[in-house]
């Protein structure tokens, strides 16, 4: 029982960042119909930005976080404008392969610049964990949970309460009609990609200090993000949040009760199971899928 409680607490911390990753990808996948293989590299990029600002520039941990998010936003905008904008109207396989090319090039770039040795990021929190009854959680992880929750709420408000969010939702439902109504669809695509990328960078910046930072860290993160998107249904933000927590729960329980070697297999198994038995995702809005 105590062990289960501990797993549930870990699930909350992990689930928050997974939800961020999932929201970013589901926006891009849902609105732009692009299978974004650079999502993982944005996650890596966010973590390295954190490392650079804290260790190489010597600035405060709490300054580094917004810097990483803004840097992710900028990189996302650059990728969209240079690679995806010229390919508007191309089929999904072509954009997917271009994204794979960009991913290979950027990951090798990260390896070239920062080397393959894993780096850790210092944090200002006390080492001793917070202990409540049978459960212990480090202060850093607690901060990660709250920061992720804040970012999820921000993303939610952006999409549901602002004019930009309304235009994004309109583009998702029908890009032609949205364009007729005066929505600058091209700008919406760029904003969507940039926002999705900044969320991935945020997830990397938050989990980077918890684990270690290395160039390939984003590969698994990208696959997990795909699992979350499939679980939640394409373009479904609430689904992505719930999917993030479900994946985190499956991983925690899988690692705790089956074998820690199969922790990362959970995401893949979820993808396969969901697509076989319920291809529209668990929380699908029945229309507009596929």
């Amino acid at each position: 029982m105590d062990q289960l409680l501990q797993h549930l607490v870990n699930m909350l911390v992990l689930g928050g960042t997974y939800a961020l990753l999932g929201i970013g990808l589901t926006l891009i996948f849902g609105i732009m119909n692009v299978v974004n293989f650079t999502h993982g590299i944005l996650y890596t990029f966010g973590a390295y930005m954190m490392f650079i600002v804290v260790h190489q520039l010597g600035l405060n941990f709490f300054v580094a976080l917004p810097v990483a998010i803004v840097a992710g936003w900028l990189l996302g905008a650059v990728i969209e404008i240079t690679l995806l904008r010229p390919l508007r109207g191309a089929d999904i396989d072509t954009t997917m392969l271009v994204m794979i090319g960009a991913w290979i090039a950027m990951q090798s770039g990260a390896l070239w610049i920062w080397g393959g040795v894993a780096k850790s990021i210092d944090n200002p929190f006390p080492d001793a964990p917070l202990v409540i009854g049978p459960v212990s959680v480090s202060w850093l992880r607690l901060f990660v949970l709250f920061a992720a929750a804040l970012l999820i709420v921000l993303a939610y408000s952006l999409i549901n309460l602002t004019k930009l969010g309304k235009a994004m939702r309109a583009t998702f439902q029908d890009s032609d009609t949205a364009a007729l109504m005066g929505v600058n669809v091209s700008l919406i695509y760029t904003s969507t990609f940039a926002i999705g990328s900044s969320l991935a960078a945020a997830a990397g910046a938050l989990l980077g200090p918890v684990y270690v930072v290395f160039p390939q860290m984003g590969d698994l993160a990208a696959v997990k993000a795909f699992a979350i998107v499939i679980l939640g249904g394409l373009g479904n933000i609430t689904g992505a949040v719930i999917g993030g927590f479900i994946l985190a729960l499956a991983e925690e329980l899988g690692a705790g009760y089956v074998s820690s070697g199969y922790r990362d297999a959970m995401g893949f198994l979820i993808i396969i199971m969901v697509l076989i038995f319920k291809p529209t995702g668990l929380f699908a809005r029945a229309e507009r899928v596929g």
Partner: protein, 348 residues
């Protein structure tokens, strides 16, 4: 005309080890050849049925492990005192078993994943390959996990009246790979020009229409998946017996990407495409290695992929064929004939 070109190419490839003695280059050619076989099998799915499988390396890896384990033997505890023990068989048996088991895995994956299309199909296939990799990494009793299977024997062929020939040298392996590649090429060529091949192309171009005229979609796609996986398994087996050591890295996603690059750059849906793309991208590292560090090589790889997709989205072979077809259409033939021939050439 077409057959003559194919035979000339085959004769040229067969002559290579006679005048090329540099072992480093010959090694690069053998591994490239193995990957070209993989790329040809991927092209059967990607180019002729339109399904982008990004888990193709799973069948390659399964073939490699099946073949290696068949020829090495194993003793795996299943439950309590119950063990499954296998005594080593000759490597050539492993080669054929690799084809059968990979083909069977192709059948299973095909049955399960052809219910979804497009991006979802891609993601299911990636997931399948990753699950297989994690099993290979974690089932240490069977696969040795990250410690790798070592000392895999070379393939031995029994020649009637002449004893046994152990295919251990690069010279022998080159011809072995070339023979398997030629057989695979012939098989795929026969398949895509058959009734089934037309059904495949029909449902790639318009699935609803194909169903309406009575094409059994699942059966056709599964057939393509089985043959494709079987050929990939054969390539994996060749890899295992040539390199003679395999670890779970054989399932690396980047290897699938390499095959996809070979197919897409050469021209998907063209029989010669994967060979042309494969020779270019297989030998690119050989030329890049002296002038740049490995990371820069991979950056070049990624950039070249993007540039090809921007400049020649249909690939090298179909683009050239279209040019030649246009030149010919200017001659005495009627335009409609030239057009239908051009579409034929794209698929040839």
């Amino acid at each position: 005309m077409k057959q003559i070109v194919t035979l000339l190419c085959l004769a040229f490839f067969a002559s290579v080890p006679i005048w090329l003695t540099d072992p480093y280059l010959l090694n690069a050619l053998i591994t490239t050849g193995i990957f070209i076989i993989g790329a040809m099998s991927l092209n059967l799915l990607l180019g002729f049925t339109g399904q982008l499988s990004l888990g193709h390396i799973a069948f390659f890896g399964i073939g490699a492990y099946v073949s290696a384990l068949t020829s090495l033997g194993f003793d795996v505890p299943i439950y309590g005192d119950f063990h499954i023990v296998h005594v080593p068989w000759p490597p050539i048996a492993g080669f054929f078993l690799a084809i059968v088991i990979s083909g069977f895995c192709g059948y299973l994956v095909g049955r399960l994943s052809f219910s979804v299309r497009g991006a979802y199909f891609v993601i299911v296939t990636i997931s399948f390959a990753e699950v297989v990799r994690l099993v290979a990494l974690n089932w240490v009793e069977l696969t040795q996990g990250p410690l790798a299977l070592t000392n895999i024997p070379s393939i031995t062929i029994g020649l009637p009246g002449l004893g046994y020939l152990v295919l251990k040298t690069k010279f022998h392996n080159y011809y072995l790979v070339l023979a398997v590649a030629a057989i695979s090429y012939f098989l795929i060529s026969r398949l895509v020009h058959s009734h089934y091949g037309r059904a495949m192309r029909g449902l790639m171009e318009n699935e609803t229409l194909a169903v309406a005229v009575g094409i059994d979609v699942t059966k056709t796609l599964t057939l393509a998946a089985v043959i494709s996986a079987g050929i990939a398994g054969a390539a994996g087996s060749l890899y295992a017996h040539y390199i003679r050591i395999i670890d779970p890295d054989v399932f690396a996603f980047i290897s699938t990407v390499t095959m996809v690059i070979m197919v897409v750059s050469g021209g998907k849906g063209s029989l010669a495409g994967p060979v042309v793309g494969g020779v270019i991208f297989g030998l690119l590292p050989v030329f890049l290695r002296p002038i740049m560090p490995p990371e820069a090589q991979w950056i070049t790889y990624g950039v070249v992929l993007i540039v090809i997709l921007f400049v020649m989205p249909r690939g090298i072979v179909p683009s050239l064929a279209a040019k030649l077809g246009l030149a010919r259409a200017g001659g005495t033939r009627r335009a409609s004939v030239a057009v239908s021939e051009r579409t034929a050439e794209e698929h040839a």
